[in-house]
Structure formats: C-alpha cells, structure tokens
C-alpha cells in the first residue's frame, strides 16, 4: 500500500433522531417526530421516514403533529445528543487517536497507514460503520485522500463511499454549493450569482473569483474542485466528567443506593485523579419511578405545565476541591437522609465539576478556621437533622413583609462580611428603628424585638376593632395598650399572597403576682385568619 495520506469522514445522518433512537431502539420501527423549541412553540426538528410518509414535515407545530395518531413524539434531548457524540468519538478513537471533532454529527479521522490493521480503504469504512452500529448508530462513512472531500461526500452519499485519488472533482460536481458550508454572506453571493453546484463554483476563474470574494471564495472553490488540503485539527480530550447508571429495578433503599453512588464516585475520582484534578462539585440527578397517579398519564402537556416530581437532584458544592470519594459519599448520604427522594430511583446521572487540587496552605496570621472538609460534613449533619433550608446565613429580602428572609449557604470566607452586612441591612429595614429620622433615634430609647421563629399561635379577643385580651403558650392577659394595626400585604400575583395586620400590645398577664407586664408584637394573618405572636420587645 502506498504511504499517501488517507482520511475517513464519519457522518451520522439525522443525528437528533438517532441520538434518541440509540437509547430507545424500539422507536426506530415506529413513526417518530422530534420536537424542539421554547415550550409553547414546539416545532418538529427531526423525523424518520415513517413519519414523513404519514405527512409529518419539519417545522410543523406540536399541535399539528398530535393530529397524526400513530406518530410518536419525543422532545429533543441534548444530553442524549452529547452522549451520542461522546460515543461517536469513542468509535473514532477506537480506530485511531488522530480524530477531528468536526461537528456533533461529523468526525474526520486520519486513517493513513491503517491498512495493515484493517485492510483496504473499503474495509476501514465498513469497520467504522460496523463499530458505530454496535454503539446504536447508523453512519455514513467516506474515504478520500482529501479530507474535505471525505467530509462532503460522507454527508452527501449514503453507505461507505471510497473516492479514488484524482476522482474527487467528479464526486463533488453535482453536489450543491451549500454542502461546502460557506459563510452566510458568501452563500448569498453564490445564490445571487446563480452558482448553485460545486461544478459551477469550480469552473469560475480563480483570479477573478479572488478579486470578487477573496481568499475564502478561493478556498471553497478549491474544496469544490477536490483540491483543498489542510491538516486535521485534533480533538482535545473532554473536560467534562459524567457517569450514568440506569437500573432495571428501581431502588428505594439508601444502603443499596449508597453502593451504586460509591461506585460512580470511585469511577469519577479515578478519572479525575489520572488527570491530576480534584472534584469541586458533584451534581447527582436521579430519575424517579413515575408516581402511581402519573403512571397512566403520558400527556407531555401536563408534564410541561405541571412539572411532576419525576426527577430529583442532589448537589454538593465543596468549599475546597477533594478526591476523597469516601467523604463525598458521606456527604451525599447525609444529604439524602435529610431530604430523601419521594419515589424509587430508576436512573442516576452523576457529573463532577473538576478543579485543580488544593496546593496552598492557609496564611500564617489568619486565625485558624475549622477544617473545610470537616465543616462541610458538620453542616451536612446539621442539615440532615433540621432540614436544609434551616441552615446557613440569613439574608433579609426586599419586601414589606416583616421578617422576610432566606438562608444562604454558609461559608467561612463570606461569613464575616455577611454578618456585618446583614446586620446593617436589618438595622435599616427594621420597622422598629425609626430609619427615616436619625434625629429621633437619638431621642427615643432603642428597643429590640426578640422574634419568635416560627411565630407562636395566639388567641385574641377584640373590643371594637382593637385587641382587648390575648392568650398564648398557656399565658393570658388583658391588653392595656394597643398600637396598630400596621397593615401590609403583597405577592398578590403568586399562588400564596400574604396579608397581615400587626399590633404592638402591652399585656398584663393575669394570675401572676406581682402582675407581669409584657410588650409583644402580635399579628393577624388575614389569609389564614389566625392570630400569631411575632415576638417580644425587650
């Protein structure tokens, strides 16, 4: 065999469809349409021949496709496309390390000198097709001494195609110029010129063409003539680490799940270790078994509008990157213990965010902080007991609702700053502080409100519209002074609006000697129609 350069192109026709069919092979024998687009404007982006025969066409809306009773509709799944692409790369890398990742559906590989391994060009092309089919994909392969010719022919012609050296132009001449993937501007120029085929482009005088459309035009013309030569741009190894696990039988036991999670974490850890990287974050997505009430409802419309809890995710963000898979497993277990999924798990998808390993130590004069790993573990343990939403640093929300806040993730670095900031905000927001008049704050004594979280249920008797008697937590007493109501309401645009009347009440508790006075913040929840004690003034 001659040592001359030889390239193969691998092209997956109807890639979007094949990416779906690869995971669900049974769909290949049914009319299938893949839809995509923003939720209300779904359109068909791919379909198989069976669907086409029934009258489905690209660009049809979902509503139009649903009129074809026999057509199965699937939503485009980019994760599956990524997986299919990764698989395609695996196919290529199983042949040669010299691979160019030309497009999600197209790879170019250098097969020079491989004839001793696989046989002649035809045999290599067939081998590629055969290996791809074991990965669940039908591909079109083409072999040529010219890499661009191989790429174009693979996209244009079905089946393994061998372009004999010197015959490139003949193979290309009937193909449309669009196969050369020109830039939009050039494409428009060719269209205006009436240059529609590779032959027409190839026949233009080179110099004049160069004057008109520059070097890009000349390059395309060379490709159209089967003459363009270029080296392969070799694909870089992926930076994305992801593992999938699909279970035949759904798992609902944490022990069994821990075993699987441990295995996935080990795999990820080993892969990252090999590249001297650590794990900065782990994202685990569980696909859950459909709940009984959803089992018979396959209407995508319903799923879209009311997203059912069919997926469950659990994320770990680590304060410092680690490779310790046992620590990660413990954290994941604690997370799952405190907030378990509400249905058995069918599928696990674990993705690791990589980061360089920690190589520096803490500064000499900085006070010692807890070990980040241990702190994270401790916080996770607390969260498993009190609930995830109840751990962290509080941050006040911009709202008229008194005491509206949410919990932010606690971190040592931000803790100092957060505390002072939130204290300052609280100071400015607190209704009890006369924020509008700093003069009066110096005149009036500052009193603090100890807030009850959650607020304490209370019973209040009114006289006219004012509270006259209040009882809560086993104490009761007469209201001697009432100030209010301070009325607020909001979020009327949400499912759960709020509306409350706050009162500052001075109460003399009965049955105690000497009589005990108390100054409380009460509120009446207008939506739930309940009285609550929000706090007590010091």
């Amino acid at each position: 065999m001659s040592p001359a350069a030889l390239f193969a192109a691998i092209y997956v026709p109807n890639f979007i469809l094949q990416a779906i069919g690869r995971c669900e092979p049974e769909l290949r024998t049914r009319p299938l349409a893949i839809i995509d687009g923003p939720p209300p404007t779904y359109q068909v982006v791919a379909l198989n021949r069976l669907a086409e025969i029934l009258g489905v066409a690209r660009g049809m809306t979902k509503a139009a496709v649903t009129q074809f009773a026999h057509v199965t509709i699937r939503t485009r799944c980019r994760v599956r496309e990524e997986a299919a692409h990764a698989a395609l790369l695996d196919v290529a890398w199983s042949i040669t390390p010299r691979v160019e990742d030309a497009a999600p559906d197209t790879l170019l590989i250098d097969i020079s000198g491989l004839t001793t391994l696989f046989g002649d060009a035809e045999a290599i092309a067939s081998e590629i097709a055969s290996r791809a089919s074991t990965f669940g994909m039908n591909v079109q392969a083409a072999v040529s001494a010219n890499v661009e010719t191989a790429r174009i022919v693979a996209r244009a012609l079905p089946g393994p195609t061998i372009v004999p050296e010197g015959q490139e132009r003949r193979f290309l001449e009937t193909l449309p110029v669009s196969m050369l993937s020109p830039r939009q501007e050039l494409s428009d120029i060719f269209e205006r010129w009436g240059v529609t085929t590779c032959k027409a482009l190839a026949s233009l005088p080179v110099l004049a063409l160069s004057e008109c459309v520059g070097q890009e035009g000349v390059r395309l013309q060379a490709i159209a003539s089967g003459k363009g030569i270029r080296p392969l741009l070799l694909a870089e190894p992926a930076q994305h680490f992801e593992e999938w696990f699909e279970l035949d039988e759904a798992v609902d036991d944490l022990e069994a799940l821990s075993f699987l999670l441990g295995r996935l974490l080990d795999q990820l850890s080993v892969r990252l270790s090999a590249r001297a990287l650590s794990i900065a974050a782990v994202r685990v997505n569980f696909e859950l078994q459909p709940a009984f009430d959803h089992a018979f409802d396959t209407s995508c419309e319903l799923l879209r509008v009311k997203p059912s809890a069919r997926t469950f995710s659990c994320n770990l963000e680590l304060p410092v990157p680690t490779r310790d898979s046992k620590l990660l497993l413990k954290l994941l277990r604690l997370r799952l213990q405190s907030r378990p999924p509400d249905a058995p798990i069918q599928k696990i998808r674990m993705a690791a965010q990589s980061s360089l390993a920690r190589v520096t130590q803490g500064a000499l004069f900085v006070p010692t902080a807890p070990d980040p790993d241990k702190l994270e573990l401790t916080i996770a343990r607390i969260a498993s007991v009190v609930g995830e939403r109840n751990v962290g640093s509080p941050q006040l929300l911009d709202s008229h609702r008194s005491d509206a806040f949410h919990m932010q993730k606690f971190s040592i670095a931000a803790a100092g700053v957060n505390t002072s900031e939130s204290a300052a905000k609280h100071f400015t927001n607190n209704n009890l502080q006369n924020s509008s008049d700093h003069h009066s704050t110096t005149e009036a004594p500052v009193i603090a409100l100890h807030v009850f979280r959650p607020p304490v249920p209370a019973r209040v008797r009114l006289q006219g519209s004012k509270p006259a008697f209040a009882s809560f937590q086993g104490c009761s007493g007469k209201v001697v002074h009432a100030s209010g109501p301070w009325r607020s309401s909001g979020q009327w645009w949400e499912d759960q609006p709020w509306q409350e009347d706050a009162w500052d009440l001075e109460i003399i508790f009965s049955g105690e000697s000497p009589a005990r006075h108390g100054l409380y913040r009460f509120c009446y929840d207008g939506i739930q129609e309940k009285w609550l004690v929000r706090g007590v003034y010091d």
């Binding site: 939720p39 209300p40 008109c212 301070w486 309401s489 499912d495």
Partner: protein
C-alpha cells in the same frame, strides 16, 4: 362631612390606577359631594373629571401635584380663576423648558404664581415628608414656615394621611405637633391612587413599569397595602376619630375651592379685518363674493340659505371662527396647497361659498343643523383635508406663525393601554419568558373577527398554556383591567387649538416629540368638551396624489386640471365604477366596495356619495345595504318608514343611509328641533351611556306619539335610529369623500400615467401594494420602465416615448437604498454620467455594498456602461469586485485600469425569467415585467385553471379553478367569520369567499401561502363575480410575491 382633597388618577401616568370617571362615580356612590383631582405635573384628567362630576352632580375641584427641582411635590389646589391661570402657566413654564415628560419648578417661581392656590403638605412625596427625612423636626418647622410665606398662612394645610403605616404615623405626630405650634390647620386626606382596593394590583404593575422592574424584584417599591383607595366619609371619620378637626377642615377647604372648569376663560382669537370693518360684515362680504362665484348672483335658494346661516353665525358670534378657517384655506390656495373641507362643514352654504368645502349643500339639500345649531352651544367642527407630508406641515406652521407659540398648539392624543402592547408589558412585569410573552401577546387576537369557538379557554389550550396557573389567570385579569388606561401623551395628527391671548393660561402646554411643536395637555375630545375651538388639519394621502398628479399632467400632458371644474358626467368614470374597475381609487377600491359597485351601478355623482356611505358598519349592521340595492334594481318596492318621511328618504329609496336622514326623521317624526336631533346623535355616539340613550328614546317615542306615529311603525323608526346612529356616515362627509373619489377616478381614466406615478410616489396608502397598482395599470395599457441608475429619479417619473407616456420606476423602490445615498447618486450623475460600476463606487463612496448588490440584482446597473449593456449577473460580479479594496499596493493600478475592469467578461450565466422575477420582488417588491403567473399560463390552461378575466363570461354556479397571488386577505368584523381573498393573476383579480368552516380547516394554507389554487363554485350575480372556495391548495411556482394586504 369628609371630602377627599388629594386624589390621583391614571392621568398621573403610571402613578394612579383609576380613570377620572371612575373616581368621580365612586365618589358619588360614597355620598361625597365634591372631590379634588391632583394629577402629577398636569391637568391631563381635569376635563374628564369635571365632565363626569358634572354629569353625576358632584363638584370637581381642580389642582395638581407640581414637582419641584429638589424632588418633592407640592399638592396645589385651585381656588379661583387666577389660581387656575397661575397653575397652568406654572406647569407650562416647567414643561416647556425641559425635555418631554420632564420638568420641575423652582421654589422662587411659586412665589410669583401662588395667588389663588392652596398648598397641602402632601404625603410621602410632599414637602413635609421630604423635610422630615432630610432635616428632622426642625426641617419640618422650616418647611412649614416657608410654605406660609410663599402661599400665605391661611393657604397652607398640614396634611395627614393614614394608611396603617407606622412610618406615616410617626410623621403625622410630628406634623400635628408642629401644626399646633405654628397655628396651621390640619387636613385629613387619603392620598388616593385608585378608586377601589383591587386596583392596587394595577398600581403595582404601573410601579414596576415606571421603575423598569418586575413584580418579583420590585420589593418595597410596591405598595405596602391596598389602602390608597377612595374611602367613604364613614371610614375616614373612623380613621381620624382622634382628630375631628382634620375631617371638618376638609369640608371647610372644599367650600373655599370656588373654581370649576366652567370658568375656563377661553376666548377665540379675533380676526383682524382691514379698514376696521366688523368681523361679521367682512364675513358677509366674503360670503357674498364666494356665493356669486359658486352659485351665480340669482340663486334664490342659495341666497336664502346663506342668509339663514349668516344670521345664526351672527347670533352665535362665530364670524371670527369662520374667518380664521377661511384665512387658512386662503393661505393654502395662495401657496398651491390643495385643500378641502370635510365633515359637517360640508352642510354649510357659507363654508361652500367661502371655498372651505367643495360640496354644494343647497344643491344636495344637506342639513345645516348637523353643522351648527343654537341649542348645542358648541363650536362648529371644520376639518380640512390637506396633502399629507410637507404641504400639511406648511399649513400647520402658518397657524403657529399667525397666532404665536403660546396662542396655538396641537391637541394631544392620549395613548392608552390596548391589546398587544398591554399584554406584552403586563407579561413582562409578571416575569414571563420572552417566548411565553410572545405566545400570550398573540392570544390578544389580531383578527378583526373572532368566532364563538375562539374562547379564552380554547385559545389558551391551543397555545399550550395552563389556565389553572394563578399567574396566567392574573395576566388576563390585569390585561382586561388595564385596557384604556392612559399610558402616555402623544400628539394628535392634525387637531390644532387657537386662542385669543395666552393659551397657556387656559390649559398647560408641553413640548411634543417633534421639534418645534407644542401640544396641549388635553385631547381633541376634551378640548371640544371644554369649548375650545379646534381646527383639524388632516393629512390625506389621496390629496397628495391629486396634487402630484396635477403637476405631472401640467408637465407632461401640458394640460391644466382644476378639480373644481371636472366634468361631472364623465362616461369613462362611471363605466369604470360600474365595472368595479377601481383599484387605486379613493374610498371605492376595497373588496367590499368592489362587490357592491356592479350592483349599485353608479350613474351620477349622488350615486357615488351613496356608494361611499353604504359600505360602512352602520348600513351593514342596520341591514340597509340589501334593501337599498334591491330597490335600486327594482326587485323591491320603494317604501318609506312612514308617509311623512317620504321626502327625507326618497333620495335613498326609502332606506336611511346617512346620519342627516336620521336627524331629519327625528325632526319630522318626533318633532325634534335641529339641536335636539343633534343631541340625539350624540347620545348614541361614541361616548354613549345607557341612561342617556334610554332618556332620548323615551323623548323620541313621546314625540312620535304626538305626531300620531305609533305601534310597529314607531318601533321600526326607533330601531332604525338606534342601530344606525353610532356607525352612520354623515351625508356631507360622504359627499366630500365622493368628490375626491370622483377626482381620483377621473384622473385614473384620463391621465393614467400621471395618476399611477403619483400613487406610487405616495405609498404607503390605500388598499393595494405597489405591485398590484402596477399590474393593474399595465392591464389598462400603461407601460413601465424598470429602475435604471442612469435614468431613474428618487421618485417615479413620466417619460415620453413613441408609444406615449410611460412610467419610470423611481429609486425609492430599491429596498435598503437610503434616500441620501440615492440623492448623491443623482447629483453625481447630473454632473457627469457614470462609466462603470467602479466609477459609481468611487464617486458615491457612501454607497454600501448591500445597496449596490440590490441595484445590480434588479437590473438597475445594466446600462451603466455606455459601451455595452450588461446582464444582471455581470453587474453582480462587478459589484463584488468593486466592493473589495484593492490594497495600497495595487490602488494606482486599479484606478488606471478601471475601464478595462468594468468591461471585463463575467463568467456568470444571465438570469432566466424566473430568476429575474424573484430578484425584482426581493429587491423592489414589484416587477415591471410579466406577472409571476404569466409563464405558467400554458400549464395552467392544461390543468383547467381559468384566468381571472374569464370568470365574468362563465355561468353562475359552474365549477371553476383559479390560481394566483394573494393580494388581500380580509376577515371583517361584520362578515360572521367569512374570509375574503383577492387572487391576482396576469389578467386581473379573482375574488374568493371562504366559509368559516373551511377557513378553520385550511387556516394554515390560507394564511401562510403567497400563491393559492382554489376550486369552487362561481357566483356571478348582477355582475358581481366571486368564487366560493371548496378546495384550497398552495400553489408553488416561485418565491416572488408582494406582501398581501392582510386582514385589515
């Protein structure tokens, strides 16, 4: 008794959520006797508030919140006419010196303008709150003392508001204490921003729009609660039970507010006559001169009518008004600006004699009372039609010059929240993603007609949206609530108000977006309601066409056309109208008009008046069209509603078609006076109220009973009047339009080249796209020349050739070619012809590559070289070469070699017919070549497709197949869901009718395809030819097609 003295309406633009009318009616229902409207920096809502209050019997106090440069707002209440003038001038001053929508007063300005005004200390935005925030208690004291100095101690009230806010209560305590120590009165108000508690939601949405936020991140910018609604005296008494004097003071202060908008102080300017002649005498003289010219000296009827009119004009002291309008018309005449009065002015013989209108009301027996009546007590309405564009602007500028900057202004146009724009803004505030937003906005249907199945539920389901979603439901609720609330102030297209003296003391003025323009804060209707005289200077595209046509005829046909002297019985005109050959004609070119013309067969001018008026919602809804046409064709007996109405209805064969007839019916059958009849029309007009309609109906019935008209006849007459009053077309208006329609038909029939060129130069206008106008003119024998850079001007021009006059399409039709670049091309060409594309590029450096590409692709560069003609692809090849810089090294070489380069052979094949057609449509939206259907005719004939021109010769009921480009799609509101298409082929236009069921089935095919093939049953009735579609298919022949005139 509590009186609300601080309320904002939606005219505070995004700071209030209720209309003035809503506030007034809520106020009345709460038992309050008066109320004050204080909108932000303006009196925008004042007239509506005043009129609404007047109607329900409460007093409307006027005022405004005026922003000062430091940021707070002074709530100012008007006590006297002086105060009103001061307030108007203050607002005008601050507005005119700032950009649109901005402006603030200096405190020192208040000192000179405080007379007649009362100042409150305001709520959150008031001076007191601002002082407390920035300088504490001492600041408040200083603020109150300063206000007392500026406005006088007796004119400052310390305002207290209670919205259950702890913050506000603290402020109140400081205010009460200091008011006591400074001996200032307390005043309770509720700082109202909406009429009802539920409108707080709208207010929150507005707040978000104002601050460019969404509800979820607006936080404390939103209202704290819903307490800023209009509260009853009982509620307010309870709120201020501890401060009864604050409540009592409201009544006391209300009693001091003596000013109402009744005392506006508006005076119409006096026309200065020569030789100190009185205005009335001068008018009499001008009218007499005009009458002799129009009627001749001996016309007794005209003389009597004019005398009657002049007597009334004198009685109502309106001579000045007529003279001012006459003056504008005179200016237009002297400056060769075509002008014609329309509207009810056409009912006046004085207007006709003065040359304001062109319709003879005496000859046509028009009703003068429709124009002017003693009872109505309002200014007459004269609208002047002018050619749209620069000519109209000249007339407007003349009025400004004549009456001064503060003596004349445009009326405002209140832009309200409507349809899609409202949906989009509310969706944004509710944080819908852009796609859902588009989806939701599209649900606010663009269809004029929606069938009964188009329920909200179905629309939502079709759009894939969940109705049970709280947010989506809120979206629709809000969309409905926000409809018609004011959004911002625009400028009315032509309404001008003029004033004797200072207009800025009558109504505040503002700068308009257009430089040099000033607008008043009230819209046209409000100005009319307030008795301010307006003159409408309206731009009419067809007037511009007529004017341009006259000039082209003068230049090329060497004839002078006087529209007033056109022969009235031109055979060609009536023949074209009878055949519905009316593409491009004024008012009679629509599809509905075309289907009516062959049945109505106009034979005289009055028939055109009827034709213009008959295809209107009034006659259609009132089911008058068919009876009229049947009677005209002798298929139905001519019967009047009542024998006494015979003379009134005889001209329209017993069928009421015009508003004037309706008024006459009321006058004859129910004994109404002219003014009462006009009152009836207004009661049923746009601002109709059920109660008022009922009232008028009772009066009408009572009047008819007195005349002995009872039972079924009475019901019939009432039915005719009620169903017709809203939509009926005034006869005078129809006559004015008919004149223009006739003139356009005359010019089209006799001077097709000039008329078509003028039409093409005034696009967009009318019903049809330029492509259709050209094809229609070609079918009438006119030849066109394509755009050629060596010959074309910016506008379409007329060229003289051996074959006669032909039209050269102008550069304005080259898509993407900027006017200034085109003018540079023309300037360079005039200096020296271009020799090559390279030469063109070098001499017009601003010419961009895309512009050159379009020019080349449409063949405009084919003749650029005098040596040889290029084909379009050759030009495209050269353009690409010319567009690329040669680089410094080769620049000199290129320059010397230019001529060789341009004559170089291009390796590209010429375009074929199909490609040329596509390039024409892509580059210009029209073609002067063959119709896209022409080249397929042989094939179409074989497939049994009839050309449009053959349909007329086929039998009614026969099955036909037609194909063509869709030029019009319509689904009129009055057609019960039927869709009408116009399909154009090279022989003419075929009219297609699609049933609602078929449309529902083939909706996508009908809406999304440029070319259609339709099979159906031919309807050939009375010369009206249409095809009732049975099968609709897309017809794929080329991507070239002009956009259709869709669903208008």
């Amino acid at each position: 008794m509590y009186v609300e003295l601080h309320a904002r309406s939606a005219f505070s633009f995004l700071e209030g959520a209720a209309t003035p009318e809503q506030l007034a009616s809520t106020c009345s229902s709460l038992g309050m006797t008066s109320m004050t409207l204080l909108d932000r920096d303006g009196l925008y809502g004042a007239p509506r508030f005043y009129l609404a209050a007047q109607k329900i019997g409460i007093r409307a106090h006027i005022g405004a919140e005026v922003t000062c440069v430091q940021g707070w707002r002074y709530p100012l209440l008007v006590t006297s006419p002086e105060g009103y003038k001061n307030l108007c001038r203050l607002i005008t001053r601050m507005k005119l010196r700032a950009a649109k929508g901005e402006g603030a007063v200096e405190t020192k300005e208040l000192e000179s303008a405080s007379g007649g005004l009362i100042c409150l200390t305001g709520g959150d935005e008031g001076p007191l709150a601002y002082a407390l925030r920035t300088a504490g208690r001492e600041g408040v004291r200083r603020c109150l003392e300063q206000l007392s100095v500026v406005f006088g101690r007796e004119n400052v009230y310390v305002e207290l508001q209670r919205h259950f806010s702890i913050e506000e209560e603290r402020r109140n305590r400081v205010a009460i204490e200091l008011a006591g120590s400074l001996h200032l009165p307390l005043l309770a108000t509720n700082g109202v921003c909406h009429a009802l508690p539920v409108q707080r939601e709208i207010l929150d949405v507005f707040t978000c729009l104002r601050h460019h936020r969404v509800l979820s991140n607006a936080g404390r910018l939103l209202s704290c609660n819903s307490e800023r609604y209009l509260k009853s005296p009982l509620q307010m008494n309870a709120l201020f039970a501890d401060l009864p004097e604050a409540i009592a003071n409201t009544e006391e202060l209300a009693a001091r507010l003596q000013f109402t908008l009744k005392d506006l102080g508006y005076k119409f300017p006096i026309y200065s006559t020569p030789n100190h002649q009185s205005q009335m005498d001068f008018l009499r003289d001008r009218t007499r001169d005009g009458m002799i010219h129009r009627y001749g000296a001996q016309n007794e009827r005209a003389t009597l009518q004019i005398q009657r009119e002049l007597a009334l004009i004198e009685k109502l002291d309106l001579a000045g008004y007529f003279l001012i309008v006459w003056d504008i018309v005179r200016f237009c005449r002297e400056n060769n600006i075509l002008v014609q009065g329309r509207g009810s002015a056409a009912n006046s013989a004085v207007c006709y004699s003065l040359g304001i209108t062109a319709v003879d009301p005496v000859g046509m027996n028009l009703l003068f009372e429709r124009f002017l009546s003693e009872e109505r007590g309002e200014w007459p309405d004269i609208d002047l039609d002018l050619p749209s564009g620069d000519q109209r602007e000249r007339a407007i500028q003349y009025v400004y010059e004549r009456y001064g900057k503060l003596g004349a202004a445009m009326t405002a146009n209140v832009i309200t929240y409507r349809g899609k724009s409202a949906a989009r803004e509310i969706g944004k505030v509710l944080s819908f993603d852009p796609e859902t937003l588009n989806r939701l906005a599209s649900l606010v249907s663009a269809w004029e007609y929606t069938d009964s199945n188009d329920t909200l539920t179905r629309q939502f389901k079709d759009a894939g949206l969940d109705l049970s979603n709280h947010r989506i439901l809120k979206f629709f609720e809000l969309c409905q609530k926000v409809q018609d609330l004011p959004r911002h102030l625009g400028q009315h297209s032509g309404g001008m108000v003029v004033c004797q003296g200072q207009l800025d003391s009558v109504v505040p003025l503002e700068p308009a977006t257009m430089p040099g323009r000033v607008v008043v804060q009230w819209d046209k209707e409000d100005c009319a309601d307030m008795g301010i005289v307006k003159v409408d200077l309206l731009g009419l595209g067809m007037m511009a066409v007529l004017e341009d046509s006259i000039q082209l005829i003068r230049a090329h046909n060497k004839e002078e056309i006087d529209l007033g002297l056109l022969p009235q019985d031109d055979e060609k005109v009536y023949s074209a109208l009878q055949r519905a050959d009316t593409i491009g004609l004024f008012q009679v070119e629509s599809r509905a008009q075309m289907s009516c013309l062959p049945r109505l067969k106009p034979k005289c001018f009055y028939d055109i008046v009827v034709q213009v008026a008959i295809i209107r919602p009034g006659p259609i809804v009132g089911k008058m069209v068919h009876p009229y046409l049947n009677r005209r064709q002798g298929r139905e007996a001519v019967e009047s509603l009542h024998p006494s109405l015979e003379s009134t209805l005889s001209r329209t064969l017993g069928v009421p078609l015009f508003q004037e007839q309706l008024l006459r019916i009321a006058m004859i059958a129910a004994g109404f006076s002219g003014g009462e009849a006009e009152e009836l029309r207004r009661a049923f007009g746009f601002k109709r109220s059920e109660a008022r309609m009922k009232e008028v109906e009772i009066k009408l019935r009572h009047g008819m009973e007195n005349q002995g008209i009872i039972g079924g006849t009475q019901d019939k007459i009432v039915q005719a009047i009620t169903s017709f009053a809203l939509y009926g077309f005034p006869e005078s208006h129809a006559a004015s339009f008919a004149l223009i329609a006739y003139a356009s038909a005359f010019l089209k029939c006799h001077y097709l080249a000039a008329f078509t060129a003028a039409m093409l130069n005034n696009q967009p206008m009318g019903f049809y796209q330029p492509a259709t106008l050209i094809k229609d003119a070609q079918r009438h024998g006119l030849k066109f020349k394509p755009i050629d850079i060596t010959r074309s001007q910016w506008l379409c021009t007329i060229e003289e050739s051996a074959e006669g006059l032909l039209v050269r399409v102008g550069l304005r039709y080259v898509k993407g070619l900027r006017k200034e670049t085109a003018l540079q091309i023309l300037a360079q060409r005039n200096r020296q012809p271009f020799t090559s594309i390279e030469d063109l590029k070098q001499r017009v450096p601003h010419l961009q590559k895309d512009e050159m590409r379009v020019l080349a692709s449409i063949g405009a560069l084919n003749f650029i070289s005098s040596k040889a003609r290029m084909h379009r692809r050759s030009a495209l090849w050269q353009v690409e070469r010319a567009g690329r810089p040669a680089g410094v090294l080769f620049e000199a070489h290129v320059r010397t070699d230019d001529s060789d380069r341009s004559s170089l052979f291009s390796p590209l094949d010429p375009m074929n017919d199909q490609e040329r057609l596509i390039a024409d449509f892509h580059g210009t939206g029209l073609t002067t070549g063959h119709h896209p259907m022409t080249q397929h005719r042989v094939h179409l004939n074989r497939s049994g497709v009839s050309p449009a021109s053959r349909l007329g010769s086929l039998r009614d009921g026969s099955l036909v197949r037609v194909a063509g480009a869709v030029i019009v799609r319509q689904r009129p509101g009055t057609a019960k869901g039927f869709v009408f298409l116009s399909l154009e082929d090279e022989t003419g236009v075929a009219n297609i009718i699609i049933t609602p069921q078929l449309f529902e089935r083939d909706h996508t095919v009908v809406v999304h395809n440029s070319f259609l093939m339709i099979e159906g049953v031919l309807q050939n009735q009375d010369g009206v030819i249409s095809v009732k579609a049975g099968i609709i298919k897309p017809f794929h022949l080329t991507s070239a097609a002009a956009p259709a005139h869709d669903f208008h």
